[in-house]
């Protein structure tokens, strides 16, 4: 499996280069290896049909419980065949559709990247590996939807799809991590061995919700459906591939995958069925008024996905069977119809169903393919669509909920109408555009739809081609038990058949009144404005608003504000720590206070105050000089001659430097009102008190031995009597080395700042 994926990904990398060589033939050339891969999947069928599971595993990140483990059961295989098979056709189709596009080469790259990710996603056994591919599909679809990147709406649609599915993806990740925590492994196979662990765990509901969030966003379930129609900004091959056949079904795949682990509980039934039914109906209703071929198909796809979800929610054997067959059917006809829409667009340069008609004469093959697909969609015998709809109704009826059945019926009725609008309407009646302007599209453009439609027909007439090997395996994989599937076209006259007939007739009726429906819908349009799409837009606005406000609040650009925040935080934390420490003894060293010492203290503080309030800068500098000299005096009086000397020297030099530049320093300006000043003073006072207490506390605690005792005893071993100097040049010489480095840098800096004048912005950034 891994090698298959690698092949695809390598092709993706080579595609642009390949295109530079092969030009128009690239699509065909790339289709060959993909077809080969499909063939290989086919060879797996017998083994899996007989209840086997193809597995393959290679270590990757054991520490995180991630390995390259793959598991192909029936359910996965069904997807693999669809993805690879339709993929091959899409590559050919794209070759015709994008012929001569400047980024055609890159397109193949993206689509192959997506294909590989999708194949990986459905075949992964390790949940995290599955998630890796899951995200890759989101990402590659982002690139594909935004393919017409200079169009604003394409970019918007791409982002929308990415954020919605990406958001769901993160939920999914959380869910997977929780599963790993609960089940003790990320290996799906291992989890399957004790399927009830999750269901019985306290975290079941969170896990379920997170996983469903992932599935629903990906499969465009209500209320996340809105990104799908938006994604129609993508080139048609993309829509045909991602948004009908494959990516949007990833969520369905996930539901199927996890129903043995998370399914068949009350919560599962309630949520999945409801969401599915609502989506099914909503999709159908929203589809009807559309006039753009692709949007019509998009909404009908939403409805189809809803149906699938609904069936998986019901979860009975019958429902699962229906789901499996409908999955196949839907992919066949929807893929075909999308490609047809593309072909039509390609020739008639419009997708508006109202201005399309009479194309049969110019593109008969396309028309036939479209017709066949549409029939399958509206469930006409002998097409396979009929079989699937029969099963669908059976499942709904069996579920016993009249509501669900009604919903299903309604949705299908509309589907019939849509099928007619898309599959027949554009081809019949008088041609609107001058026919000579158009002609049958090239082989590449009609091959895909033709094949898919044909398959629909074949599968309808000979259902046994697909049911026993493929669908049975898929169904068994979901149900976790060996389940035979026996499809037949004809069930005899019964309620279900009645419903089918009713569906078709009602569908025709709806089709007849489509224009009136559109006018009604147009009047109802305002309602749409409060839909989830609106919520998404508002969400984005809110984000930028909040972000903007926050930035203005925090990163306002006023240094004082920054300093104040930092100092307040420091003071608050230190104060808090003090409170934890308890009472601080204030009496330390109050014995033998000496006049001169107090006098020095007083001078230091008042000098600092003078500096703070001086109106003249040099007066302030002089006052600071006093502080400096007085501190030096303190050092002197407390046995630190080296310090005293250094302090005096540094103080003097500082004074000199100040005097040298002061002529170029701004004059004082007293900004800020008295209230601000009073606040600052108050805060400063508090901070001062905290510091004082800290010092006293430090003096109070003294855990005896100090390293300096060692210095006192060993200085002579370092050939020195001045212990401070010995520390500086020997015991702790590294400090000094670093220190002179700092000084050198400072000197370089002063020099550069004063000598290097600003110059042209060139080279700057």
């Amino acid at each position: 499996m891994l090698s298959a994926l690698l092949l695809i990904f390598i092709l993706a990398l080579l595609a642009p280069t390949l295109h530079r060589v092969l030009r128009g033939a690239t699509g065909w050339a790339l289709a060959v290896p993909v077809a080969a891969v499909t063939g290989w999947f086919g060879t797996l069928l017998p083994g899996i049909a007989s209840g086997g599971v193809f597995q393959e595993s290679r270590a990757w990140v054991p520490a995180l419980g991630i390995d390259l483990a793959f598991r192909i059961d029936g359910w996965a295989l069904l997807f693999l065949l669809l993805i690879a098979g339709i993929g091959a056709l899409i590559l050919i189709y794209a070759g015709g559709y994008l012929h001569g596009h400047r980024h055609e080469g890159r397109f193949y790259g993206f689509i192959l990247l997506f294909m590989g990710s999708m194949l990986g996603l459905v075949s992964a056994d390790n949940l995290i590996l599955m998630f890796v591919f899951w995200e890759l599909t989101s990402f590659s679809s982002y690139l594909l939807i935004g393919f017409d990147h200079e169009k604003k709406e394409s970019r918007a649609a791409a982002l929308q799809a990415l954020l919605v599915t990406g958001g769901g993806g993160l939920a999914l990740l959380a869910g997977f991590v929780l599963i790993g925590k609960v089940g003790g492994t990320f290996s799906f196979s291992t989890l399957l061995e004790s399927p009830d662990v999750l269901r019985e765990h306290a975290l079941y509901l969170p896990i379920l919700l997170l996983v469903l969030a992932g599935a629903f966003t990906k499969s465009a379930q209500f209320p996340f459906h809105f990104w799908l129609p938006g994604a129609m900004a993508a080139p048609t091959p993309v829509s045909a591939y991602l948004h009908s056949a494959t990516m949007v079904k990833a969520g369905i795949f996930l539901l199927g995958r996890f129903s043995p682990l998370l399914g068949s509980t009350e919560a599962w039934h309630q949520i999945v069925t409801t969401v599915g039914a609502v989506t099914m109906l909503a999709g159908a209703l929203l589809a009807l008024p559309q006039t753009d071929l692709k949007r019509l198909l998009a909404y009908s796809t939403v409805s189809g996905l809803g149906t699938l979800t609904l069936l998986l929610g019901i979860g009975t054997t019958l429902a699962i069977k229906a789901a499996a067959i409908f999955l196949l059917v839907h992919s066949l006809y929807k893929g075909a119809l999308f490609m047809v829409a593309g072909a039509v667009d390609h020739e008639a340069h419009t997708r508006d169903v109202r201005s399309l008609s009479g194309l049969f004469k110019v593109m008969p093959i396309t028309a036939l393919a479209a017709g066949a697909a549409a029939l399958s969609m509206s469930g006409f015998p002998p097409l396979v669509g009929f079989i699937s709809k029969e099963l669908l109704y059976e499942a709904n009826l069996e579920a016993g909920s009249l509501l669900v059945t009604a919903a299903g019926l309604a949705a299908n009725v509309i589907m019939v109408a849509v099928a007619i609008i898309v599959g027949f309407r554009p081809f019949h009646g008088p041609p609107q555009v001058a026919p000579q302007a158009m002609h049958e599209p090239p082989l590449a453009l009609w091959l895909g739809p033709a094949v898919l439609a044909a398959l629909g027909l074949v599968a309808g007439i000979l259902p046994n081609l697909v049911d026993r090997p493929l669908l049975a395996a898929a169904v068994s994989a979901i149900l976790g038990v060996e389940t035979p599937v026996q499809l037949k076209l004809w069930h005899g006259f019964n309620l279900v058949l009645g419903l089918s007939v009713l569906t078709v007739l009602a569908g025709l009726a709806v089709y007849a009144v489509r224009d009136r429906i559109r006018t009604v819908a147009a009047r109802l349009a305002p309602i749409a404005r409060v839909g989830p799409e609106r919520a998404y837009a508002l969400g984005l606005q809110a984000l930028t608003f909040v972000a903007d406000r926050q930035t203005r609040l925090l990163q306002h650009g006023y240094l004082r504000g920054y300093v104040l925040t930092v100092l307040i935080v420091a003071t608050a934390l230190a104060g808090f720590a003090l409170s934890r420490f308890g009472a601080v003894p204030l009496w330390i060293g109050f014995e033998d206070v000496r006049f001169h010492e107090v006098a020095i203290g007083v001078i230091i503080l008042s000098a600092a105050l003078v500096a703070a309030n001086a109106r003249s800068r040099l007066a302030a500098v002089a006052a600071l000089g006093v502080v400096g000299y007085s501190v030096a005096l303190i050092y002197g009086l407390y046995g630190a001659p080296d310090l005293a000397v250094t302090q005096i020297l540094v103080e003097t030099l500082t004074l000199v430097l100040f005097v040298l530049v002061v002529a170029h320093l701004p004059h004082f300006s007293t900004f800020g009102g008295p209230r601000r000043r009073r606040f600052d003073a108050l805060f400063a006072a508090v901070a001062g008190v905290v510091i004082t207490l800290l010092v006293l506390k430090a003096l109070h605690v003294d855990s005896g031995a100090r390293v300096s005792e060692y210095f006192a005893e060993n200085a002579l071993r370092a050939q020195g009597r001045n212990v401070v100097n010995v520390i500086l040049v020997d015991f702790r010489a590294l400090d000094t080395l670093g220190e002179i480095a700092v000084l050198s840098v400072a000197a370089l800096g002063v020099f550069a700042l004063l000598k290097l004048r600003p110059y042209s912005k060139k080279g700057g950034r």
């Binding site: 009496w587 046995g639 630190a640 701004p666 400063a684 001045n722 000094t736 002063v750």
Partner: protein, 116 residues
């Protein structure tokens, strides 16, 4: 004396904080200068004060006779003093440059590059 100095230190911190919160660039520098003085004094005091023997071994003695002023904080402070001198010199040059480019003492004029 420790208490006296502790109060002095607290006062210096307070005044330097106050100065750092002014809008005037020059006052900011003064604040930074006082701040480093205060910090050095704090290290000196927190390590405990002794009026006696400087940490210099007298001729003939083999080791420093107690009681002596703790030499380590002295070395640290010496390093700190010199480092903050370097910083201060650079800050001066920077302010001088800022003044010639911005033509103001008002720190609030410095917001521009942050508010696009």
């Amino acid at each position: 004396m420790e208490t006296t100095l502790a109060i002095v230190i607290g006062g210096l911190y307070a005044i330097s904080f106050y100065l750092m919160l002014r809008r005037s660039m020059v006052k900011l520098i003064f604040g930074l200068m006082l701040f480093s003085q205060a910090v050095n004094l704090l290290i000196f005091t927190a390590a405990g004060l002794t009026r006696a023997q400087a940490p210099i071994i007298p001729d003939g003695a083999a080791a420093l006779p107690a009681p002596y002023a703790d030499p380590l904080p002295q070395a640290l402070i010496l390093t700190a003093i010199v480092i903050s001198f370097g910083m201060l010199a650079f800050t001066l040059a920077l302010t001088r440059r800022a003044h010639s480019t911005l033509q103001t003492d008002d720190l609030d004029q410095l917001g521009r590059s942050e508010r696009p």
